[in-house]
Amino acid sequence: MKILVPIKRVNDYNVKVRPNQSNTDVDLSNVKMAVNPFCEIAIEEAIRIKESGNAEEVVVVTVGDEKHQEQLRTALALGADRAIHVKTENPLQPLDIAKVLVKVFEKESPELVLMGKQGIDGDHNQTGQMLAAMLGLPQATFASKVELQAGSVEVTREIDGGLETLKAELPAIVTTDLRLNEPRYASLPNIMKAKRKPIDELDLDALGVSPKNRVELVAVESPAERQEGIKVESVDELVDKLKNEAKVIE
């Protein structure tokens, strides 16, 4: 079985991203970039499935500019066998990313697609569901447990009320949540080995996808700052403030 893992290059989650000077976009000029944390979880899960003998090949794919190769190398160092880089200078929106991934899916014919539930940059939470829709395949989003069975996958999902378990026939699209696993770190020998693993390059023309700017970014601003409040000295003072000043309890 082959597993396809689409990954996204995003800011390191420790960095607080700010608007640029002209408030037209975010300022990523000096920001450390990384593999989206949910995608790291997807890579880890794919590798574990391979290690358990249930998959032969893990292929990672990303859509973006030249710098995205860094994240593909990271994925290869973590244990992916092969990478695909779909090149585009301008970042695409989830619908177009999904259209690209449809083409990659059709070329690769994986049995399972494992991807992140959301990019921590745009917080869209869309691409996996869109890919599943366009392919007419079952989706299992927000996975905290993935169990492969013959010809199907059973997925436990994190939902607002608790947990839900679904079963999907393969091929299926699964998006990962935080509790699915704890990603490993790449070892130095594996980082060296990853340099020799293949990265196939494709472009949008060859795939026949022409992206559209359907939703434009008009402005980016900082949110209204909260006023830092006061420190209270005791529980009594806290209760008093909540009752008589904030009037939020009785």
Partner: protein, 309 residues
């Protein structure tokens, strides 16, 4: 053109999130219809009483017992011609199904809308709420997921919409099948719509200590939440997680206990009206957003607080 709102429910009640979504929809200034996919007519009847709604399209089928995204998306696609706006809340249900039908209709969805400026221009948080983006759509049809904490609730009782029974057509799309649910049972208010929320973090040390929060929650009729670290460590179930990748809450009162205040946590609670932080580290970033900070050991503070409420 009209606006279609997806009704969320548990086959017994309409979710509070839907009321806020209807309120957001009303700001678009168009007629609002609701879409209900449920296992009985009960939900459609209840939904017809929501204020400001023209029609309720009611899809009834046993398989709608659980809201499988594939099924819901099919229902929407079936009626999509009449609408130019499609809205649902950004709950896990909305997040699961909205992009599915957006893609089927070739629409780029706009997620987590917190403000409707006009019918083409919307605001939404990005980068864990560190920035607010204003986006403008060039599409004729739009799909919006609504961050419900940013909108009031429509009245659940004053409306009188017409209920239209729809017939369900199946398409060829392959679907996942429901196996089981393990839902958290609680007598307390639901986290995202509670007036008061008390959340625990890694500082709680273990699951047993969450009882210290339960006592206070019971006295205040509050919901209990948690940080990611607390959920990851098994102190609290996953549905307690507040934050960028968990739930967004904006209660009248949010009490953060043993939570440091990472940006991912703040993303889900910094719009609360009053914030209280209880933390033994006076440098903890949570104090930067707190109206009232109490520096102290939670194991001393919580029992005293409970006794004084």
């Amino acid at each position: 053109m009209k606006t279609l709102v997806l009704v969320e429910h548990d086959n017994a009640e309409v979710a509070a999130a839907t009321l806020s979504t209807v309120k957001a929809a009303s700001l678009l200034g168009q007629d609002i219809d609701l879409l209900v996919a449920a296992s009985s007519q009960v939900i459609a009847q209840k939904a017809s009483q929501i204020d400001g709604v023209s029609k309720v399209l009611s899809f009834v089928d046993g398989r709608f017992d659980n809201e499988i995204a594939e099924d819901v998306a099919e229902c929407v696609v079936q009626v999509a011609n009449d609408y130019n706006f499609f809205l649902a809340s950004s709950s896990t249900t909305g997040k699961n199904s909205l992009p599915r039908f957006a893609a089927l209709l070739d629409i780029q969805q706009i997620s987590e809308v917190i403000e409707i400026i006009d019918n083409a221009t919307f605001k939404k948080p990005i980068y864990a709420g560190a920035c607010i983006a204003t986006v403008k759509t060039n599409q004729e049809k739009n799909v919006l997921s609504i961050r419900t904490t940013a909108f009031d609730k429509a009245s659940a009782e004053s409306g009188n919409a017409q209920v239209i029974e729809m017939s369900v057509t199946d398409t060829s799309s392959k679907k996942s099948a429901f196996i089981k649910n393990e839902l958290t049972v609680s007598d307390r208010p639901e986290l995202t719509s509670a007036d008061i929320v008390i959340s625990g973090g890694r500082g709680m040390q273990d699951a047993d200590n969450f009882k210290l929060l339960d006592g206070i929650a019971n006295k205040l009729n509050a919901a209990v939440g948690a940080s990611r670290a607390a959920v990851d460590s098994g102190f609290a179930p996953n549905d307690y997680q507040v934050g960028q990748t968990g739930k967004s809450v904006a209660p009248n009162l949010y009490i953060a206990v043993g939570i440091s205040g990472a940006i991912q946590h703040l993303a889900g609670m910094k719009d609360s009206k009053t914030i209280v932080a209880i933390n033994k580290d006076e440098e903890a970033p949570i104090f930067k957003v707190a109206d009232y900070g109490l520096v102290g050991d939670l194991f001393e503070v919580l029992p005293e607080l409970e006794s004084k409420l």
